[in-house]
Amino acid sequence: MTTTDDAQAKAADLGVTETKLKHIEEARKAKKRFVMWVALVWVGIFALLLLVFNQFNLDFKFMLKYLPFIMKGVGTTIYISIFSIAFACLLALFGALGRLSKNPIFYGAATFYISVIRGTPLIVQIFVIYLGLPQMGIVISAVPAGIIALGVNYGAYMTEIFRAGIQSIGRGQIEAAHSLGMTYAQMMKRVVLPQALRLTIPPTGNEFIAMLKDSSLVNFLGVWELFFRAIKVGRQNFRNMETLIIAGLFYWLVTIIFQYFQSRLEKRMAKGTQKASGMGH
């Protein structure tokens, strides 16, 4: 190639990158505009909401006074949710293995568990464990009872998440594991579960965020979590709207925070798979 050809090629190349840059710049601007508008809409609706709430004759002094008392429940709410989701994951794992088992005992036990739990309200399950079990002589205090009930309930729903994760691992890998002489347990532990569990992390994050709110049901057991504290002071002072707003805001805030981590986690994991599958080609 001669030098003039080279120069021409370079110029053409430059032209391409310029239009490309311009295009990228425009796309960025459009995105910025969109985000700004969304923020504006949020602020607008929020202001409107405040306006509506103002009609309730809210006692802001009262709200400020009891804010710290109600806020103390946030920690309880979060830790009940964490223990419950951990317990739920364990049950969901066994539930999923049972659902996929060819053994009628394991399959039967798993499907029965899922059917009963999905077929009855969470609040009934909570009361059965807290109020029903003592009739059999089993007394569980409020917090563990709440954790067990929430865990058992979410575990049944999350069985599907774990089952999908396990089933997404290809038949070929399972056969390769068997052909090396692995037992079913070795194959599950070494090949299927490490990959399957990774896939269940993002949907489990979603379940956790839902759990944060459902954990408010354990207030019926007298657990001093966020919602319990809110209605307690609310009723005592006939200022229910104020305390409910405080509790609601805290639930919302905690959800936003965990949702942020959740979406970061999801992005990171998506990147991981892209990297892994992209590099070979």
């Binding site: 070795q186 990959q195 892994a276």
Partner: protein
């Protein structure tokens, strides 16, 4: 010399479909047998029945002195026997089936460490030797998704060899590869044959078959139509059907 594999009247059904209709053959230690046949002729199924990835319904097979469990309940003893059979036999798949969440070296030592409870260090030393042998040692800390198909298949061969099997089964090992990558895999297989490994290979690479195989078995409709040395089969087959098939694939 005793045969290392004895197969007598082996039958396999998928529901009501008879896939293997009484296979009978012996394979001697160190023999390389290439199995050819039309799709659906049962060639992959035969390999899969031998290491019990598929269950056979009747007949008899002895693999390196261990009787293949046929029509038996999966008791503890039978399960143990199946694992023993599998550890005597390495298998290489068309789709490689490496474990994507583990590095190359970890793929190779997985069998020795987990199944044979071998010490990790010993397994790594031997694994690295094997990876050098298949010319993949530089990639030992890569993940499978970072390799080409040919590289993956060479690692898969090393993984199977790490169990120190006496027999190697190859189920269409080059069918999923781009044409330019087939040679590197066939080369490894050729070297393995030269080292005296007993090999059962399902493939349509007739160049490889002619050069390496001791026998070619032509399967059709679940049975052995012809079982002859490569020269005989490729130049002057006993059966018209064999000639038709070879004309078609060559």
């Amino acid at each position: 010399m005793e045969p290392i594999i004895i197969i007598k009247d082996l039958k396999k059904y998928f529901q009501h479909l008879l896939v293997l209709d009484g296979i009978t053959t012996n394979i001697m230690p160190g023999e390389v047998v290439v199995i050819i046949g039309r799709s659906g002729s049962g060639k992959s199924t035969l390999l899969r029945c031998l290491n019990v990835l598929e269950e056979s319904q009747s007949g008899y097979a002895l693999i390196d002195g261990i009787e293949l469990p046929i029509g038996q309940k999966r008791t503890r003893e039978v399960r143990k026997r199946i694992i023993e059979i599998r550890t005597h036999m390495g298998m290489v798949f068309q789709e490689f089936n490496l474990f994507p969440h583990r590095t190359i070296i970890d793929n190779v030592i997985e069998g020795p460490v987990i199944v044979k409870k071998e010490d990790r260090k010993t397994a790594i030393a031997r694994g690295e030797e094997l990876l050098s042998w298949v010319d993949m040692i530089e990639k030992k800390d890569y993940y499978p998704d970072q390799l080409s198909g040919g590289q993956k298949q060479r690692v898969a061969i090393a993984r199977a060899l790490a169990m120190e099997p006496k027999i190697m089964l190859f189920d269409e090992p080059t069918s999923a590869l781009d044409p330019e990558l087939i040679g590197e895999v066939l080369n490894v297989m050729k070297r393995l044959a030269e080292e005296g490994m007993t090999m059962l290979v399902v493939t349509h690479e007739m160049g490889f078959a002619r050069e390496v195989a001791d026998r070619i078995i032509f399967l059709g409709e679940g049975g052995i139509i012809e079982d002859n040395p490569p020269e005989k089969i490729m130049e002057n087959p006993d059966h018209e059907d064999t000639r038709l098939f070879l004309n078609h694939i060559l």
